[in-house]
């Protein structure tokens, strides 16, 4: 294929663009976002997309500035298999395809719309896309030859088999390498294979093989268990047989032992008399022992009794002594109690006396105080009345409003201002002061303001210098506004003054001033009087009068109270009554304290006396008990003595019992020795044999029990029918194994056939793929300076491995290579594919910035390889790039995208 030209209309930033392509190479360059990739997009859509595509990407090809839908058009003229065509496709608003054949110079319409899309796709040997837009994997051979941004990577096996698209099955000369018959046979074999195996080659879960194997395994497990059961029974049978064999032997042994015992018994001498003697001697020893114990026990009893009496006596004595002591103490406490009682009475009397005196002193004081207060209050009332009158008089002289000093001051100032203004007006309407200044300068003021270059300012003055020997004519110009202002000001001021005077109902400022002064004086006087009144008393006269009344009533009341003689005698009236009251109160408090102390002492004594009396009563009771106990102990002692006799008697008895015991023990020991000697001999043997018989019989019993248990267990196990189950299992296993073998043979035969077919297919294919691989190696080797002389392509022409020369067989996985290497390799593969296809028709390679990561030395070599390809097999190359100089080595056209838009 050769692409001759392309036209875009209303396609993104291309309002109307035409590019004519060179037969060999065309490099379309420009900065970013100038529409280079858009041209490539238009080329691919123009060839591979249906015009009625409604994908979002298609809608976005409308010009950016367009509002609403708009038709985007692409036209391409190209030659395919020596025939020239033109295609026009309209997208979006008005869509449709027109396919023309170019005859001579004229385009002859071949087809339109869907049919045209289909025919074009057929010519291109691509796949017809859906209305959602085409993908590079549907472009047939162009999937390898055209590399826009979205197709920078080489197609992988996931994107389909290139065999048909790249005519790999076609031998040189056009013969078909792989026939439909092969495909059909392979298809059937794959179906049969799929009945047994999954895609990864594992046995399929649905196949009979797995289920049969599982069943066999289950049965084998079952068989193992059954065999174990049978073996167990066999083992138990052996054990049983062994026990059954041993049992008669054991029984025979018992009989023999019994015979031996019989014999031993008959041989043993009669040692029963020695045994009896020993028993009697032992009894005698025990009896003697008891006598000794009895004697000891009696002595202990006697001792205990004596101790008891002694103890009681001691205790009784102590009690008696305690009793005496307590009685003396109680007597002492009673005496003390009486004394304190008298003392308390005395103090109580004293208190009463003090209370009376205190009460009398208070009465005197209260009466005196009331009298004094009455006098004070009467004076106060008089004074307050006077003050109130004065204040009343002054308030009558007050006016409602009083001019403040400030107001007065303002009026005065206003008046002064008026006079000044009037003066200035009087002069000429302006007040001009001309004053000779220093060194002949002239100061000119107007209304108090100095002139400044003929202009009056609000503040300050301007010095106007006039140099003359004498004062000449001085012309002063001033604004009349001042005058106007002055009059207005005068008016305002006069109004203001009048207003103020009216306010205070005076006629002049002097009157106002006087008014102010007078009112101020009145006000100050009132303040002073009010302060004095407050100082006297803040209350009203009525309140004070009420208080006065109360004091008077109180005085009268206290005056009526009669005094007792003692009080008259002891409380004088001509002293400081307040101090007298304090004195008496103090005396009273002291007397009370003394009384309280006496009472406390009295209570303590009472309490102690009670306690001691209680203690006394307890001790008396205890003494009584002790006496009784002593009597009892004495009675008991008499009883014991009667029972056991005296201590001396018992001591004597003990001595003889101990002597007896010693003798009897010696005798017993002798008899025992004789007995033991007898026992070691025949007696011992008899006992041993008896024990042996017992043990043997026990073993026999255990043996019989084991035999019974084993018999029972074996019988029960036998009933289980394990053998029949095993036979059935094994029979089934045999059947299944035969079936499995058949199925496995069948499955493996299909697997073998499938693999054989694939192997032969790839072998045939390698005859075609091989040269492509060699071509890739050659160009890659050259471009990389022979660093990579080996490359492996899979059947999808995708590089899988790179060999690295100079190292010991270290090969790289394709994905381990650098980005630059991958780009170079991808281009080598594309060129090799183009070369392979060039046998059928010349090819067109379209690249979008192919050397993004490639170093300049390699990209230069790549350019050489491309040029070689162009020369050798008529390849057409179209490159889109933003780096024009990189492709300067390519022969052909350079197109600045911006110039053709």
């Amino acid at each position: 294929m050769k692409v001759h030209w392309v036209e875009l209309e209303n396609w993104r930033q291309h309002a109307k663009t035409r590019i004519d392509f060179d037969e060999d190479t065309t490099v379309i360059y420009g900065p970013n976002e100038t529409g280079k990739s858009t041209v490539l997009e238009a080329l691919s859509r123009g060839l591979f997309d249906k015009s009625n595509t409604h994908a979002e990407a298609i809608k976005r090809i409308k010009p950016l500035t367009a509002s609403g839908a708009i038709t985007s058009t692409v036209r391409i003229e190209f030659t395919l298999n020596k025939t020239s065509y033109r295609v026009e496709k309209n997208f979006n608003l008005r869509n449709g395809t027109s396919l023309y054949k170019i005859v001579g110079e004229e385009p002859i319409l071949l087809d339109q719309d869907d049919s045209a899309d289909g025919q074009l796709i057929q010519l291109l040997e691509a796949d017809l896309p859906s209305t959602r837009g085409s993908k590079p994997s549907q472009w047939g051979a162009f999937h390898w030859l055209w590399a826009p941004q979205e197709n920078r990577e080489l197609p992988t096996d996931k994107e389909g088999d290139p065999t048909a698209a790249l005519h790999l099955e076609t031998k040189d000369g056009g013969g078909v390498l792989v026939t439909p018959k092969f495909r059909a046979v392979q298809h059937f074999v794959q179906i049969y294979h799929a009945q047994y195996f999954t895609k990864t080659g594992k046995t399929s879960k649905d196949s009979l093989i797995l289920s049969t194997e599982e069943e066999i395994q289950t049965l084998q497990h079952g068989s193992v268990e059954l065999r174990d059961k049978i073996k167990k029974v066999d083992a138990e049978k052996q054990q049983l047989e062994e026990l059954q064999r041993q049992l008669p032997i054991l029984e025979t042994k018992v009989i023999e032992t019994k015979e031996e015992l019989k014999k031993a018994r008959s041989e043993a001498i009669d040692f029963s008399s020695v045994e009896s003697e020993l028993k009697a001697s032992e009894a005698g020893v025990r009896e003697a022992g008891r006598d000794v114990e009895d004697a000891k026990k009696a002595l202990i009893e006697l001792e205990k009794s004596a101790e008891k009496i002694e103890r009681h006596q001691r205790k009784e004595k102590e009690t008696r002594e305690n009793l005496s002591r307590l009685e003396a103490l109680c007597e002492q406490l009673e005496g003390r109690q009486q004394e304190i009682k008298e003392k308390v009475e005395e103090k109580a009397m004293k208190i009463r006396e003090c209370e009376e005196l205190t009460r009398d002193a208070r009465i005197l004081w209260t009466k005196s105080d009331a009298e004094a207060k009455t006098g004070v209050l009467e004076k106060k009332i008089k004074r307050i009345k006077l003050l109130d009158d004065k204040i009343e008089g002054l308030r009558e002289k007050e006016v409602p409003i009083t001019p403040t000093n400030k107001e007065v001051e303002n009026l005065i100032q206003s008046q002064t201002r008026i006079e000044a203004l009037k003066e200035s007006l009087t002069a000429r309407g302006l007040a001009v002061n001309v004053t000779p200044g220093e060194k002949g300068s002239l100061e000119v003021e107007v209304d108090g303001e100095r002139l400044k270059d003929g202009k009056l300012t609000a503040t300050g003055t301007e010095r106007v210098s006039v140099g003359a020997p004498g004062l000449g004519k001085v012309t002063v110009k001033a604004k009349l506004e001042q005058a106007h202002d002055a009059k207005v000001d005068i008016l305002h001021l006069e109004e203001s003054i009048q207003g103020t005077l009216s306010k205070y109902a005076v006629n002049s400022i002097a009157e106002l001033k006087e008014l102010s002064q007078t009112q101020n004086e009145i006000s100050n006087s009132i303040k002073e009087l009010v302060a004095e009144r407050r100082g006297a008393d803040e209350r009203s006269i009525n309140e004070i009068t009420l208080e006065l009344k109360k004091f008077k009533e109180k005085y009268e009341e206290y005056k009526k109270i009669k005094r007792i003689p003692n009080a008259i005698k002891l409380n004088p009236t001509n002293v400081d009554l307040g101090k007298l009251v304090n004195k008496r109160e103090k005396e009273e408090v002291e007397a009370r304290a003394v009384l309280d102390k006496a009472r406390t002492e009295r209570d303590e004594v009472d309490k102690e006396l009670i306690e001691k009396k209680e203690e006394l009563a307890e001790i008396r009771a205890e003494q009584k008990h002790l006496s009784k106990d002593l009597d009892d102990a004495r009675t008991q002692e008499r009883e014991i003595i009667r029972q056991y006799g005296s201590v001396e008697f018992q001591e004597k008895k003990l001595g003889s019992a101990e002597a007896n015991l010693e003798k009897r023990s010696e005798d017993c020991e002798k008899i025992k020795q004789r007995y033991e000697e007898l026992e070691k001999g025949p007696i011992y043997r008899i006992k041993r044999l008896e024990q042996q018989i017992e043990n043997q019989e026990q073993v026999i019993q255990q043996q019989r029990t084991s035999i019974d248990q084993l018999k029972g267990g074996i019988g029960a196990a036998s009933l289980g029918g394990a053998y029949s189950d095993l036979a059935e299992n094994e029979s089934r296993i045999e059947i299944l194994s035969e079936r499995l073998e058949k199925e496995q043979i069948h499955a493996e035969s299909y697997k073998l056939l499938k693999e054989a077919l694939e192997q032969q297919y790839h072998s045939a294919l390698s005859a075609v793929v091989g040269p492509i691989q060699e071509e890739v190696k050659r160009s890659l080797s050259y471009v990389t300076g022979f660093l990579h002389a080996d490359v492996e392509l899979n059947e999808y022409l995708f590089p899988t491995r790179l060999g690295e020369r100079g190292f010991e067989d270290i090969s790289l996985e394709f994905n381990d290579g650098s980005s630059g290497l991958k780009e170079v390799l991808a281009l080598c593969v594309r060129l090799a594919v183009a070369k392979h296809l060039s046998g059928r028709d010349s090819q067109c390679l379209v690249l979008d910035d192919p050397f993004v990561h490639v170093s300049s030395d390699r990209s230069n070599k790549m350019i050489e390889v491309i040029n070689e390809a162009i020369k050798e097999y008529g390849l057409q190359v179209i490159v889109f790039t933003h780096r024009q100089m990189e492709f300067a080595g390519l022969t052909g056209r350079m197109v600045d995208i911006q110039s053709v838009k």
């Binding site: 390498l177 792989v178 026939t179 439909p180 018959k181 092969f182 059909a184 046979v185 059937f188 074999v189 049969y192 059961k229 049978i230 029974v233 138990e236 049978k237 049983l240 047989e241 084993l710 018999k711 074996i714 019988g715 196990a717 036998s718 009933l719 289980g720 029918g721 394990a722 053998y723 029949s724 189950d725 095993l726 036979a727 059935e728 094994e730 029979s731 045999e734 059947i735 035969e738 043979i745 069948h746 493996e748 035969s749 299909y750 073998l752 056939l753 054989a756 077919l757 192997q759 032969q760 297919y761 072998s763 045939a764």
Partner: protein, 376 residues
């Protein structure tokens, strides 16, 4: 005079190894054939039936199988049955005859000891097997009865020493001295253990020792099986009349068949036609067969599995051949298919493992079939 039926080695419950799908069938038929034995006894109006051991395959047999046998026994209540346990159904704690069900069969007597048993007009001298392995003559317990009145019959289960296939005492687990007759003076020795019916003569040339063999053949190449014996002894010292009666239901055939060329298939077919009534068929094919004829052979053999109860054809000795490619290059109309055929043929030529050869042959057969059948 005494008349009785002698039988043994029923081995009810046996697995039937090597019979594949026919195993279960054989097992059931062995039970059914017990009727043939007891019917024969009924028809021949014998005095009793003597079972000489291995009636059951194992003591741990299922109760279901036991019940089936007892059910049949109960259908012939008038025929006394004397049963000697063998080495498969050996006496012991697990002995199948310990099961209570046997106690209730009134006309069945289990010969558990070597004590003589008086039967109608004869005396039985049982020699029960008490141990799987013994070097002692099992008939050693039979007393000398030369001077004792009556017809004396020994009953044992083991191998006659010195008689094929067991030559010496050392090779035998359950030895029986063939000189027993001469030593004891018994009139007849009824034996079980061997599956083929055989008789042996005493020193005077009279056949007084016999194996009845199994009542139903148990496997291929078991000659003279499937019988019981009708024994008649007229009086003490008389020569026993030994008449075999067929009881086996299944018919068996086992042979080799040579395949020479494609015409052999026709012969094979004819042969199958001739044995179409046989129940159990085993054939070993040997020789050569062209691959192209394999499919036809497979079809024929598949059909045969529907004709017989068991049809086993062994093909390991049969050499499937393919003509050399030079002589008849494959032509499927596709070069890759052709190459595949050549590749598989080469594999076959270099393969000696029988299983692998089968796989390759099948693969070739599939290829040839698909190559012919698939049309485009």
């Amino acid at each position: 005079m005494v008349r009785f039926i002698q039988t043994s080695d029923w081995q009810i419950g046996m697995k039937g190894g090597g019979l594949g799908e026919a195993g279960p069938i054989v097992r059931e038929i062995r039970i059914e054939s017990i009727h043939n034995v007891l019917k024969s006894a009924q028809e021949q109006k014998v005095d009793f039936v003597l079972l000489c051991g291995d009636i059951f395959e194992h003591n741990m047999i299922s109760q279901e199988d036991v019940k089936k046998v007892v059910t049949i026994f109960n259908q012939y209540p008038d025929i006394p049955i004397y049963l000697l346990p063998g080495n498969h159904d050996m006496l012991g704690a697990d002995c199948v005859y310990n099961r209570p069900i046997f106690q209730r069969v009134n006309h069945l007597t289990i010969l558990r000891t070597s004590d003589s048993v008086k039967v109608t007009d004869a005396i039985l001298h049982p020699c029960p097997v008490l141990s799987r392995f013994t070097t002692q003559d099992l008939t050693g317990t039979i007393p000398v009865v030369r001077e004792v009145d009556g017809i004396h019959i020994g009953v044992a289960h083991g191998s006659l020493v010195g008689k094929s296939p067991v030559p010496t005492w050392e090779d035998v687990d359950l030895p029986i001295d063939p000189a027993c007759i001469d030593r004891t003076g018994i009139d007849y020795l009824a034996l079980g253990h061997w599956h083929s019916h055989t008789t042996f003569e005493d020193s005077t040339g009279i056949a007084r020792i016999a194996y009845s063999g199994t009542h139903e053949q148990t496997k291929y190449d078991e000659d003279n099986a499937g019988h019981c014996l009708l024994i008649q002894i007229d009086g003490k010292g008389d020569a026993p009349k030994i008449v075999p009666i067929k009881t086996g239901q299944l018919t068996w055939v086992s042979r080799e068949f040579e395949m020479k060329d494609s015409s052999s298939l026709i012969e094979l077919e004819k042969y199958f036609e001739s044995i179409k009534g046989i129940d159990m068929v085993r054939l070993v094919l040997y020789g050569e067969l062209l691959l192209e004829s394999k499919e036809e052979l497979d079809n024929l053999l598949e059909f045969q599995t529907t004709v017989h109860k068991n049809s086993r054809v062994e093909l390991d000795s049969l050499n499937i051949t393919v003509p050399p490619s030079l002589e008849a290059p494959p032509d499927f109309g596709d070069p890759i298919l052709n190459q595949t055929e050549i590749h598989l043929e080469q594999l076959l030529a270099n393969e000696i493992d029988p299983r692998e050869r089968r796989i390759i042959i099948e693969a070739l057969a599939h290829l040839q079939r698909l190559g012919k059948e698939v049309e485009v």
